[in-house]
């Protein structure tokens, strides 16, 4: 049997909110296999974002174990985590999180910049990805010259530029109208099915979650399938 991309064992996470200790994750066990398309649903306040931050190596669990493609994330320092985010993960955020006043192609190049890829290769690879998401004609547009859907495509291209094993999408259609949402979801589905990219998507809309092969529901810090 192949090794899971995500393996989590009884992960707990606490944080302080206005001096009150909140138990955000209460023993999460999760396995995601390569090539899967998993949706995590849950009402707001259920701990979705906290879980996503830990899976995305932006935060570390307070207890429990987390292995990303077999590597023990809990033992890594900040720079090793940064390297992992750079090479193994791709992020798509609800709010796109593109660099303002920076062209689409330069936005897509950012992960390559931190991977130490040379200038010419960076540009070629970024162009390739933007063409792949259908923005080959808008390479030099800055985010404020692009529509929401187009911005999310740029973000998707950026997430894929380093050929990550896992694509994390946090409410990817949350800021988009329904027509554009369908386009983005089609793109995610295509990437998963054609290119074999593992996708983990967080959403609170049930009809969007139907795109996934597997649906999980997070409630009060625990997972229900």
């Amino acid at each position: 049997m192949a090794e899971p991309i995500i393996r989590m064992e009884s992960v707990h996470k606490y944080y302080a909110l206005d001096g009150v200790r909140v138990h955000a994750l209460r023993g999460i066990d999760l396995n995601v296999m390569p090539g899967e398309f998993v949706a995590i649903m849950g009402p707001s306040g259920s701990g979705k974002s906290t879980l996503m931050n830990i899976i995305g190596c932006l935060d570390v669990p307070d207890s429990g174990g987390y292995w990303l493609s077999g590597a023990d994330v809990t033992r890594m320092n900040v720079d090793e985590l940064a390297g992992l985010r750079n090479r193994a993960l791709g992020f798509v955020f609800q709010g796109f999180n593109l660099l303002a006043r920076t062209s689409a192609v330069e936005n897509v190049e950012v992960p390559l910049l931190y991977a130490g890829v040379g200038r010419v290769q960076r540009r070629t690879r970024a162009r390739e990805l933007l063409q792949r998401v259908g923005l080959g004609e808008r390479l030099n547009h800055t985010p404020n010259q692009l529509s929401g859907g187009q911005q999310q495509r740029v973000a998707l291209a950026r997430a894929l530029v380093n050929r990550p094993a896992l694509l994390l999408a946090d409410e990817p259609t949350g800021n988009l109208d329904s027509a554009t949402s369908v386009e983005i979801l089609d793109l995610l589905t295509e990437l998963n099915q054609k290119d074999g990219v593992t996708v983990l998507m967080i959403t609170h809309e049930p009809d969007i979650a139907t795109r996934a092969q597997r649906k999980l529901v997070l409630r009060d810090g625990t997972l229900e399938s």
């Binding site: 940064a82 999180n97 950012v110 040379g118 380093n162």
Partner: protein, 404 residues
């Protein structure tokens, strides 16, 4: 991330806020320009003092006849008559002595045809002009032989030329003082005012013996100029001279010196030290403005880090390590201070050149001050850029991403 890519990133970020970058760099520009201009003024003053000191002979000692005490009455410097030509000759034997120039002084009313002018007639030997490093404008010096013969010849300074002769050529003419008539054989170049403000050109020099015998009727001398081999020797031979002259004058241990030694080297050293202090003072006042410029950089960089918190969060999420973020902001600070330094150097040199042209200041831009000012500007950039850069690199990615 490669250094070149980091540099491009920093330049682009600054370029997006051109006006802000320029205003931030302005603090450093003014600071560096101030340091360079101020140090140039200081160095100019130092140079001017050095050249004045050189015109006095900085390795020289002057021995003057001293005071005497008779029954409780103590007379002033120059009133004893015990200093002799033979003393001067004896000094030549001391190690470290390069030249010895005995002299006598007198004040006379000099006359030429219908004009007269009150000036001093000093009796010297040809060596005197070497000791003073004083060349002739025209004619020639009197010779040692003319000194031995007490010949009626003289060499005159520019002020005397002007006052006594006007437009008449002085060379070959005869000046009268009292009953003595001296032929002008040489005219000295202008030496200007001394460091003490007296007119060094208002003087007539005649052979020592001529003044002694034919003008004053004395056998003693008033003073001896001693040229030492170098500055250090000027200091070290003072006790030797003292010992030798005391011996020659047969002074008992309980008797005071009947002569005084003035060390010009001492004076030169004092003047040079004070010029140096002046230079340092100007430089350090200017450094304060450089420091203020640095604080300006820190201020703007802190604002910039806060403004770009979200950008930092995005970069971290995409794989930027702490050092990548640190260098991004540190490089921005360094570029600001470095570019400010270069522009400041040009502005400072321009300012110094303008001062030289439009004011009385003598200025001298030194390579040393340029290197120092530019180095300090970079140091200021590192010092004041490090805190904001560290602050940026230690942001937590999730918090930075959430920042609105």
């Amino acid at each position: 991330m490669s250094a070149l890519a980091a540099l491009q990133l920093a330049v682009r970020a600054l370029w997006r806020n051109k006006m802000r970058a320029l205003l931030t760099a302005l603090g450093v520009i003014i600071g560096v320009a101030a340091v360079i201009t101020m140090v140039a003024i200081g160095a100019g003053a130092q140079k001017r003092i050095a050249s004045q000191l050189d015109s006095m002979g900085t390795n020289n000692l002057t021995i003057r006849s001293g005071s005497s005490a008779h029954g409780g009455v103590r007379t002033g410097v120059g009133t004893t008559h015990t200093l002799m030509l033979a003393d001067a000759e004896a000094l030549r034997e001391l190690p470290g002595v390069v030249a010895v120039a005995p002299n006598v002084r007198s004040s006379v009313q000099a006359r030429f045809r219908g004009t007269n002018w009150g000036t001093s007639v000093d009796g010297v030997t040809p060596e005197f002009f070497a000791v003073r490093d004083w060349p002739l404008a025209e004619g020639e010096l009197f010779t040692a032989r003319e000194v031995a013969l007490a010949a009626p010849v003289c060499v005159i300074g520019q002020t005397v030329v002007k006052e006594l002769f006007g437009l008449t050529p002085a060379l070959g003419e005869t000046i009268l003082f009292k009953s003595l008539a001296c032929r002008v054989v040489g005219v000295l170049v202008a030496k200007g005012a001394s460091a003490f403000g007296s007119d060094q050109d208002d003087v007539i020099y005649a052979p020592l013996t001529t003044v002694q015998r034919n003008l004053l009727g004395i056998t003693y001398i008033n003073g001896i100029e001693v040229q030492a081999a170098n500055r250090a020797a000027a200091f070290s031979i003072v006790p030797e001279i003292k010992k030798l002259i005391r011996q020659r004058h047969r002074l008992r241990d309980d008797q005071e010196d009947d002569f005084r030694i003035f060390n010009r080297a001492e004076l030169a050293q004092t003047a040079e030290t004070s010029a140096q202090v002046f230079s340092w003072l100007l430089g350090s006042i200017a450094s304060v403005s450089l420091l203020v410029g640095g604080i300006g950089i820190m201020n703007i960089m802190l604002v910039s880090v806060t403004e770009r918190t979200r950008e930092i969060g995005i970069r971290m999420a995409l794989g930027a390590r702490r050092n990548d973020i640190l260098w991004q902001f540190l490089l921005e600070a360094l570029i600001l201070s470095g570019a400010g330094g270069v522009i400041g150097i040009l502005a400072g040199m321009g300012g110094a050149a303008a001062l030289a042209k439009f004011s009385e200041f003598q200025v001298s831009v030194t390579m040393w001050s340029i290197i120092m000012a530019f180095g300090s500007a970079l140091l200021v950039g590192v010092f004041f850029g490090l805190h904001p850069a560290r602050k940026a690199s230690h942001l937590r990615p999730i918090e930075a991403l959430r920042y609105e």
